[in-house]
């Protein structure tokens, strides 16, 4: 066994020993038993995101990768997908008291007016799905996706709702969805992180904790990559060090560490040696993947990328490239969807229309591109915000700014690929889009479904912390069976 292989071996042994052994003795957690018995399989796992083992996946997965497009700030379902002609008729009328009794809103006080949809809708494709004129290109691929029209959440403030959506809990401190996935499955490419995060138009208000590892080992943290400048922090060599010199110095560092190992016999040294090799490899592999210039012209045009700048389009193309290269979970956050109508261009009229223009082409390109490469088969794509918007206008500053308040009782998300039905709609809201009347799904159900498609049982994907087995979905969540192929 050469030293790197030995390092892999020791690493897996070490992890097993440290975190799993004693749980076995007390008999807790079948998962950990599985990973112990399947220790040999760990050799193939990426040390960037060790985890998994023969116990996982729990069953045959439909999806191997996830691209999650989170529209931070919460887009209005009423302008985009949930077409409500009745609401148009009520435009300008006072909100019926029945909708307000016992409810809590973020900003609405008193009796607001109803606000009709500001976009126009048409039916598209074989599924005759209603889609807004804000998203003309996406409308053309609407047949590819399943719409979830009755998603609900417990929170109506951005940061807590984002935490709930991405970590299963509205308070901080829990691991993120992507972290749970790499914890469960590891990562197929050992030269790239298993969980990559890309930001556009700023970042989500919840900040880095949205892709934090919580109580999981920090290897399960999302790695934030940038489409401009250095793709990963500290990836570039400092001034005066070129890659030849870097190779030499890593080589010497590792040789000295080998000497150290002979004395101290600490297996962590072997792991460190392999991590330095990997770090060096990442210095070449990551920029290569992150370089969208190498894509043919027509692909760049298809997405509408702007190389060298930060944009959602760039990130969509990067998402495809990352998945293509084996990254398990790619999380995109696009900020700026909080349309309260608090100022010019900040409403669900022109403001939202402009914002939609930034994502319309890239998203449809992403779906078409994944499809033409046969990647949509095993890549699950998820789109949504942290909650929805009210059918009532939030009259904050006067008549010309048409905004909607935060709404957590019903909003729309969509999913596609990785074993999700095409051209399907799950759930329906009432005639004004206020509450769900059928197919109601909670955030935890979405999470359970995502894990399910990856071959993970959300009730069995657990981690022992503070004397308790924690899950992404806490004690909730049901897989949404109706949307699966």
């Amino acid at each position: 066994m050469d030293i790197v292989n030995e390092a892999h071996f020791r690493q897996s042994e070490y992890n097993t020993r440290r975190h799993f052994l004693k749980k076995c003795v007390t008999g807790m957690g079948a998962v950990t038993l599985g990973s112990m018995m399947g220790g040999a399989n760990l050799f193939a796992k990426n040390l960037l995101s060790p985890g998994g083992g023969a116990g996982m996946p729990h069953f045959v997965p439909k999806a191997k990768h996830v691209i999650y497009l989170h529209m931070a700030g919460a887009p209005s379902q009423l302008e985009l997908f949930d077409y409500k002609p009745e609401l148009q008729k009520m435009n300008g009328q006072s909100c019926p008291p029945s909708l307000l009794e016992g409810k809590r809103f973020a900003f609405i006080r008193g009796v607001p007016q109803m606000l009709g949809p500001q976009s126009t809708f048409k039916q598209y494709g074989e599924s005759r799905t209603w889609v807004s004129d804000y998203l003309p290109r996406f409308a053309e691929v609407a047949d590819e996706v399943t719409f979830l029209k009755s998603v609900h959440t417990d929170e109506f403030n951005h940061a807590p709702a984002q935490f709930l959506m991405q970590t299963g809990s509205p308070r901080t401190g829990r691991p993120s969805l992507g972290g749970w996935v790499t914890y469960g499955l590891g990562s197929p490419n050992e030269n790239l992180p298993g969980f990559v995060v890309l930001l556009s138009a700023g970042g989500p208000t919840g900040g880095k904790r949205l892709w934090g590892s919580g109580f999981l080992p920090t290897v399960h943290q999302g790695v934030q990559c940038q489409s401009t400048g250095t793709p990963v922090q500290n990836l570039g060599n400092p001034k005066g060090v070129d890659s030849k010199m870097r190779k030499k110095s890593v080589d010497i560092i590792n040789k000295i560490n080998e000497l150290e190992y002979q004395e101290a016999q600490d297996p962590e040294i072997l792991t460190r040696i392999s991590q330095y090799e990997m770090a060096f490899k990442m210095q070449t592999s990551v920029p290569k993947v992150m370089n969208i210039d190498s894509e043919p012209d027509y692909i760049q045009k298809m997405y509408g990328v702007t190389p060298g700048k930060n944009s959602f389009a760039n990130n969509c193309l990067l998402a495809r490239r990352l998945v293509e290269n084996g990254v398990r979970f790619v999380q995109l956050y696009d900020d700026g969807w909080d349309m309260h109508g608090a100022g010019p261009g900040g409403g669900v009229g022109d403001g939202l229309r402009r914002k939609c223009k930034q994502i319309d082409q890239p998203i449809s390109a992403l779906l078409m591109d994944l499809k033409q490469r046969g990647m949509l088969e095993d890549t699950l794509v998820v789109w949504g915000g942290e909650f929805g918007r009210t059918p009532m206008m939030e009259a904050r500053t006067g008549k010309n700014f048409l905004g909607r308040d935060h709404h957590n009782e019903a909003f729309t998300m969509w999913m596609t690929g990785g074993g999700i039905k095409k051209g399907h709609t799950h759930g329906e809201t009432d005639e004004i889009g206020y509450s769900a009347i059928s197919g109601k799904v909670h955030v935890h159900d979405i999470q359970a479904t995502i894990l399910n498609q990856l071959g993970l049982d959300h009730e069995r994907l657990t981690y022992r912390f503070q004397g308790r087995d924690f899950r992404l979905t806490d004690v909730h969540g049901n897989v949404i069976k109706d949307i699966l192929t």
Partner: protein, 921 residues
């Protein structure tokens, strides 16, 4: 593969062996079975069939079916037995799961037949106060009593101790452990040359007395206190709370007893005549998150903070997870649902309410300003007319306030409101208020308006007619007593900060008596705008202010006094009894579904007579630190142990309950706990002294095959621990060995290349620039939404919640950080320059570099490798023509020196990346 099976089998037999003893022990033999197989349905969350095995009274009570589950002394009459051996799979327990093994059934049968003796989990039984260290045959090895426990355990496991680590390694270990930074070159030299018997002991005492001692141990406490310089949640506004960190540093430096330290943090405000420091200590629980996001309900997030305080208190001082009891009884440990709320009642009366400005706050002066304030007050005091004299206030700031108020010089910060509408914003340092929309408002608590005839508003605006302020009493739509129009104070210029361009706008006030809540309502002027106007402060003008009776010089002093800046710290303060909040149980943990009202109290498991139960937060804190509390000293010594040895004696430091790990050395843990409480009288320094003086601590960390085979995890302490350093230790060490470290102790948080201000930027009070760059990591400004990357990379928590234990990982991102980070590479440059200066001979330079970094002499083999790297780099730079391809330090140099220095930078960079450098060997 076979290895794992082998391990499993060993583990299995080991666990079986225990049950062969004749006397069945509930804790040792029975509880693990119940926890594992039964409590999921018959525990704290569910009690199927009205049967629960969590509490003794439930276990022996009647179940739903009328049967008695456990009949002491008679297993065949016990329903529990009947059900675990039942033939019908529908009735056989555990339900819908594999049957118990014969072995497990035997254990339960024997236990019942032997009388079913119930025992508390070990952690809830107070430690015995008369434990004697075991007598051992190798007294020559043992240096103190700790070693006797450890040695006895080693013998039991057929292990023997390792030799003492070499002097240099030991010294470095000691420095990193006690003060968090390695010894300097000179310090190593002195120690190596000192052959006196007590040389090591002298070093220990020197380090315990160092002012860096407090910094190192405060770093540990910061994770527990979830300390950060921002509030978390969406806006992540800045929070000025660094005085709390200084308090912790000082407490450790002064060797404040741990019980005092704890009580001050939990209830310093309730101590009789609390000192400034005791009030600042209560900021411990003001480190909770606060939500400034528009449209949030302050009460919701006030409650979230209070709930979190309960959970944190139990984790820090009791090693107990209470968070799950918020929603239901503890699934595995004997805590009932309502007991969470009884504990919460102790904390529920804190005055703070998630308001923007974070009242209540306590103000203190820097040393410099304090002197000035004192001298101004002395001057004023001497000049005061007898009728203006009044009793002294307890704190300097309140004294200043009282004097100014008495004389009629009254200023009020605009941002010190207690409540506000959604559309109120503050600047990054929270010192300026503005209204982003029309019709917003703020409320100030209990302002004395007696004799006030005018209020001056110090405002800035860039719109001609920016808006209006109207002043109302007691409620938003209460009596209007005055109004003022705000107009332009300066031009709007791109990039310029117009916010501080203030002018005073005076509003005449209707005569009003006494104190009132004052509401300010803000309205737009000629148009809507994002920011109508900014408001900095207000001045209240009295009709006949006393200060008019004094000289101009006197009045100038008053003005000066009023303008001296103070540092604010949010603190905990109890609401007065009339405003006391009632505490209700929350059904399923939801604050919107109130259950029964509960009174404050401690969980029953602690076995405290109800009549003696603590009734307020102070009494609760005192109970926690009393000998009646079984956990606090154990949890504390375990933390200190873990910081030195890498793992706690109870590895799950956050969880001492039944689901936590068992202590590897229970008698040692208890003996140390009692000793900490009694002999050391809660002093941390003597505790640590004893630990580092032990032979156990001084062992070499080198392992051999036998030790790894027998004890791969080093649970039985037959060698030293080889532990990767913490994020703070790694960076501080890099700064120390490169000579960049700025060793200043204490003060406001600082910015450096790893600081990202996030949405709300870097506050005014943070230290910036060169003096900030190389301070110890403890001082790095910590924004919760964007914490310093390198800290997270090296396994630091993000400080959103209390964290007892950092799980160490080993990742390529850590390698990238050490290789390429800006500050780390600056350190490589700085170290290279020193290497160059150290000697003319390149080989000597390399040896010097290694010795500087590792505090010991390099081995020949390692030196050979460094030489190889040096020569390669030298050749490389010889070929290099462009200045921009040289490391920073070498650019200005010429000729050979340029290439040599550049090559040394490469070597220095490698040295700072060695495994041995980032671990404590």
């Amino acid at each position: 593969m076979s290895k794992y099976i082998c391990l499993l089998l060993i583990a299995f037999f080991w666990s079986c062996q225990n049950s062969k003893d004749d006397e069945i022990s509930f804790n040792r033999d029975v509880r693990p079975i119940l926890n594992d197989k039964c409590l999921r349905c018959h525990g704290g969350v569910k009690a199927s069939g009205e049967f629960s095995l969590l509490f003794e009274e439930d276990a022996f009570g009647q179940t739903q079916s009328g049967a008695t589950a456990i009949v002491r002394g008679n297993h065949s009459k016990s329903e529990l037995y009947k059900r675990i051996v039942h033939e019908d799979p529908e009735l056989r327990m555990p339900f819908d799961a594999p049957a118990l093994t014969q072995k497990e059934i035997d254990v339960l049968v024997q236990w019942i037949d032997q009388g079913a003796k119930w025992e508390k989990h070990w952690a809830y039984v107070p430690p015995k106060r008369d434990i004697e260290p075991p007598t051992i045959d190798s007294l020559s090895w043992a240096k103190n009593k700790i070693d006797q426990f450890v040695y006895a355990k080693m013998q039991e496991k057929e292990l023997s101790p390792s030799p003492e680590a070499d002097k240099a390694t030991l010294l470095r270990r000691l420095y990193l452990d006690l003060i968090g930074i390695p010894p300097t070159h000179e310090e190593v030299k002195v120690f190596m040359e000192n052959s006196a018997e007590d040389a090591y002991e002298k070093e220990v005492d020197k380090l315990l007395a160092s002012s860096h001692f407090g910094e190192r141990w405060a770093a540990m406490w910061m994770d527990l206190a979830r300390y950060a310089d921002s509030k978390g949640y969406e806006k992540d506004s800045n929070r000025e709370i660094w005085k709390f960190r200084d308090y912790v540093i000082n407490a450790f430096n002064e060797d404040m007893p741990f019980d005092k330290f704890s009580i001050e943090q939990l209830a310093g405000d309730l101590l009789p005549n609390p000192t400034e420091q005791q009030l600042i200590a209560t900021a411990f629980h003001r480190n909770t998150l606060a939500n400034d996001e528009g449209g949030t309900d302050n009460e919701e997030f006030r409650i979230a903070a209070v709930v979190e305080r309960v959970a944190t208190t139990y984790e820090v001082w009791q090693g107990t997870t209470m968070a799950c009891v918020q929603c239901h009884s503890h699934p595995y440990d004997p805590f009932r649902h309502e007991e969470f709320y009884q504990s919460m009642a102790f904390f529920n009366n804190a005055k703070d309410n998630d308001s923007y400005f974070e009242e209540p706050k306590f103000f203190t002066y820097s040393e410099e300003n304090r002197e000035e304030v004192e001298s101004l007050l002395a001057y004023i005091d001497a000049e005061l007319l007898p009728e203006d004299a009044a009793p002294k206030e307890p704190y300097l700031y309140s004294e200043k306030e009282a004097v100014l108020t008495r004389l009629g010089y009254r200023m009020h910060e605009a941002e010190s409101f207690y409540e506000s509408s959604s559309f109120i914003e503050l600047d990054e340092s929270l010192s300026l208020l503005w209204q982003v929309q029309d019709s917003s408002w703020v409320k100030y608590d209990q302002i004395d308006l007696e004799n006030i005839e005018q209020i001056g508003f110090f405002a800035s605006a860039t719109i001609g007619y920016a808006g209006d302020i109207s002043i109302h009493l007691d409620s938003l739509k209460g009596k209007k007593i005055g109004a003022v129009k705000i107009t332009k104070t300066g031009e709007s210029k791109k990039g310029a900060d117009n916010r501080y361009n203030t002018r005073e706008f005076k509003a005449a006030i209707d005569a009003t008596e006494g104190k009132h809540d004052v509401y300010l309502r803000f309205f737009k002027g000629e148009r809507y705008d994002g920011h109508l106007f900014y408001l900095d402060k207000m001045r209240f003008y009295e009709r006949e202010p006393r200060m008019k009776l004094y000289s101009t010089a006197f009045n100038q002093k008053l003005k000066k006094l009023a303008e001296i800046p103070a540092t604010s710290t949010p603190i905990i303060q109890e609401l007065p009894p009339v405003e006391a909040r009632k505490t209700h149980l929350f059904e399923r943990g939801s604050w919107l579904t109130l259950g029964n009202e509960v009174e404050s109290g401690i969980p029953n498991i602690y076995g405290y007579p109800e009549t003696e139960e603590p009734k307020d937060r102070l009494a609760f804190a005192q109970w926690m630190m009393s000998e009646k509390n079984p956990l606090v000293a154990r949890v504390a010594v375990n933390r200190f142990w873990e910081q030195l040895f890498g793992f706690g004696l109870v590895e799950s430091m956050e969880e001492f309950g039944t689901q936590g790990e068992k202590p590897t050395h229970p008698e040692l843990l208890d003996w140390m706990a009692v000793r900490f409480e009694t002999t050391h009288d809660w002093h941390v320094k003597p505790l640590l002294r004893e630990l580092v003086l032990s032979a156990t601590y001084r062992q070499s960390s080198d392992a051999d095959v036998e030790k790894i085979e027998k004890d791969s995890r080093n649970q039985w302490l037959s060698r030293g621990f080889r532990t990767r350093l913490s994020a703070e230790q790694i960076r501080d060490q890099v700064l120390t060995v490169s000579g960049l470290l700025n060793p200043l102790v204490g003060g406001p948080s600082v910015t450096n290349s790893s600081v990202d201000g996030g949405w709300t930027g870097v506050p005014d009070w943070a230290v910036k620039g060169d003096s900030a760059k190389y301070r110890r990591s403890l001082y790095t400004l910590w924004k919760r939404v964007t914490p310093p990357n390198e800290m997270l990379t090296f396994d630091s928590p993000d400080r959103s919640v209390c964290t007892s234990r950092r799980i160490r990982t080993n990742t390529p991102l850590q390698a990238l950080n050490l290789l390429n980070d800006e500050t780390f590479f600056e350190a490589s440059n700085a170290l290279a320059v020193q290497m160059l200066q150290a000697d003319a001979d390149p080989e000597e330079q390399l040896m010097f570099g290694y010795a500087k970094v590792m505090g010991r002499k390099i081995s020949d083999k390692k030196l050979l490798l460094l030489k190889e790297l040096y020569h390669d780099a030298q050749e490389h730079f010889k070929q290099e023509k462009k200045d921009s391809n040289f490391p920073e330090a070498a650019i200005e140099r010429i000729g050979d020196e340029k290439n040599n220095l550049a090559a040394l930078v490469i070597v220095a960079n490698a040295l700072l990346n060695l495994d041995e450098f980032i671990v404590k060997g």
